[in-house]
């Protein structure tokens, strides 16, 4: 479980760099995604990059669309929708 979280954190930081965004404060479970330094474009790139890395995109798979507010919720979506 924590492996997945680590991957997400690593790529999160990668996207911050490539989209010229700055992390506001620290990235914790409670960090509000849209206030973390990533805007919707950065967020979209993050999801696309994660799909490349993890080979699945929960936002495309999801039956019931969920829109995460915090970082923890974001990671949960990836855990819940991981292919068996």
């Amino acid at each position: 479980m924590s492996d997945l979280r680590n991957v997400i954190v690593a790529i999160f930081h990668e996207i911050l760099t490539t989209t010229n965004s700055t992390l506001t404060g620290e990235l914790t479970d409670d960090s509000i995604l849209l206030e973390s330094g990533l805007d919707s474009l950065g967020f979209a790139v993050l999801v696309a990059r994660l799909e490349e890395e993890l080979e699945y995109d929960p936002f495309t798979i999801m039956e019931e669309p969920v829109y995460p507010t915090t970082f923890q919720e974001f990671v949960d979506i990836y855990n819940k929708n991981a292919p068996k």
Partner: protein
């Protein structure tokens, strides 16, 4: 009929426009009209260009100027000076109105016969100069990038712009939120719809963050909102957002998918949800309120209100309606065949339903922003080491599409990662943020077709 007539029946105390720190009531508008009466006489029957940064100030001046100026040209404040000069000349504008001090020098050589007015510095009267001058059917000139990269001017009238707006018979108290810029058709449609029914329009400004805009709307209890799917997805990520009690939800500007429709239905079960198909050239085309993406195939066979839809041989959507503009200003010609405009949007039919597939010319829609692949390719090719470049769309469930750059680079380049980092930096300096490729793929070769052109439709 001019804009100010829309609120003739409203009571003086009715708030028409609201912003962060201001409320404009019907009687305030009358006061402003009296205060600026001399100025309004000066511009009467003339062509005026409006270059406003503030949506709120622009909204008020649109109400004051419609029916008085013969032509109103709306220019976005971020437009470059070269294009501004070009359009001022093309629209034969005698006056530029702005809400800030814009230097005439920057607009040489076209500024010779031009008079600049900063509305915040205008001289006002205590008593209105009583001059009853006859109304004009003001021409509204809007900017669009059309089907190619270069901006064009599109001609409308109040009639063509409000063709599909309905006047609420019950005059129910609604409060609209404005998220868009007022210079584009999306923003204008919200403004006109709100004004037509004497509702309150809560106006957000460009410099506000989305969080601030949502707070503003919440303070004013906005219950009607129009936004792109990307914006709706973003707003749904705010914890407080589900607390809104929307009665009317409108989507447009991008392809609307089933996921966002379902999410909105779930979060706001009491709202009427519709997605609107519109373009600057076609005006407002039609709307779909059945909760499903795309539109029923039956729309292609039976006109909806006065709107007729057809498909071309290449499956692009043709539209004919009274909402359409009367054409472009300048040398560009609006392609109209038997009254139909080719929207350039590709349609796929599946099980009695028409779905939007993207643009025929390959324009990429990044969160509502039009991106032209060729332009980005040019920028990429400027960078030493890039031999070929092909820009494609990468589908995104978050903002519709992202930009992907597929490139062939010099064999001599060993450190590819470093090269990409520098190439990205080069793009950052030349392109707007949403145009900068989100992904770079290094290819061995790029496919060319028989004429030696890049294969774009695979």
């Amino acid at each position: 009929m001019k804009l100010s007539n829309f609120i003739d029946d409203a009571e003086d105390e009715t708030v028409i426009l609201a912003s962060d720190n201001m409320n404009l009531r019907v009687q305030d508008l009358s006061t402003e009209r009296d205060r600026f009466s001399s100025f309004l006489t000066v511009i009467h029957g003339k062509n005026v260009t409006l270059d406003f940064k503030s949506n709120f100030v622009l909204a008020m001046w649109l109400i004051l100027l419609d029916g008085r100026a013969s032509r109103l040209t709306l220019l976005p404040p971020e437009l470059d000076n070269e294009n501004k000069s070009k359009f001022i000349q093309l629209t034969n504008s005698k006056f530029i109105l702005s809400d800030r001090d814009i230097h005439s020098v920057a607009l040489e050589p076209y500024s010779v016969n031009l008079t600049f007015y900063d509305v915040t510095q205008l001289q006002t009267e205590e008593i209105a100069s009583s001059q009853s001058l006859s109304d004009f059917e003001t021409q509204w000139i809007l900017l669009t990038s059309g089907t190619t990269g270069s901006p064009k001017l599109v001609r409308h009238t109040l009639k063509s712009l409000t063709n599909t707006s309905k006047r609420s018979k019950k005059m129910t108290k609604r409060t609209w939120g404005l998220l868009y810029g007022l210079q584009r058709i999306a923003g204008l449609q919200v403004f006109l719809q709100s004004l037509l029914s004497c509702n309150k329009l809560v106006i957000a400004e460009i410099e506000q963050s989305l969080a601030e805009k949502i707070q503003l709307f919440s303070r004013h209890a906005v219950d009607c909102l129009s936004a792109t799917p990307t914006l709706w997805r973003q707003m749904l990520m705010f914890t407080e957002f589900p607390k809104f009690t929307f009665t009317t939800i409108t989507l447009g500007g991008e392809i609307v998918d089933g996921n966002i429709l379902r999410a909105l239905k779930k979060t706001f079960p009491q709202a009427k949800i519709r997605h609107i198909y519109a373009s600057t050239e076609a005006g407002v085309g039609f709307s779909v309120a059945d909760g499903l993406p795309g539109f029923p195939e039956s729309y292609l066979h039976n006109p909806i209100s006065d709107v007729s839809l057809k498909l071309t041989e290449t499956n692009t959507l043709l539209i004919r309606s009274n909402s359409r503009s009367s054409g472009y200003l300048g040398s560009a010609t609006l392609d109209v065949v038997e009254g139909y405009i080719d929207t350039g949007d590709l349609i796929r039919i599946k099980e009695d339903r028409c779905y939007f597939e993207g643009r025929e010319n390959g324009t990429i829609n990044v969160g509502g922003n039009k991106v032209h692949p060729e332009h980005i390719e040019q920028v990429l090719l400027e960078f030493p080491g890039v031999r070929f470049a092909h820009v494609t769309a990468k589908k995104s469930p978050i903002i519709g599409s992202l930009v992907q750059a597929n490139i062939v680079i010099d064999d001599s380049i060993i450190n590819q990662k470093e090269f990409i980092a520098k190439l990205r930096e080069h793009c950052n300096g030349q392109l707007e943020r949403f145009m900068v490729p989100a992904f770079f793929k290094i290819e061995d070769e790029i496919k060319l077709n028989a004429s030696g052109k890049i294969c774009r439709n695979e």
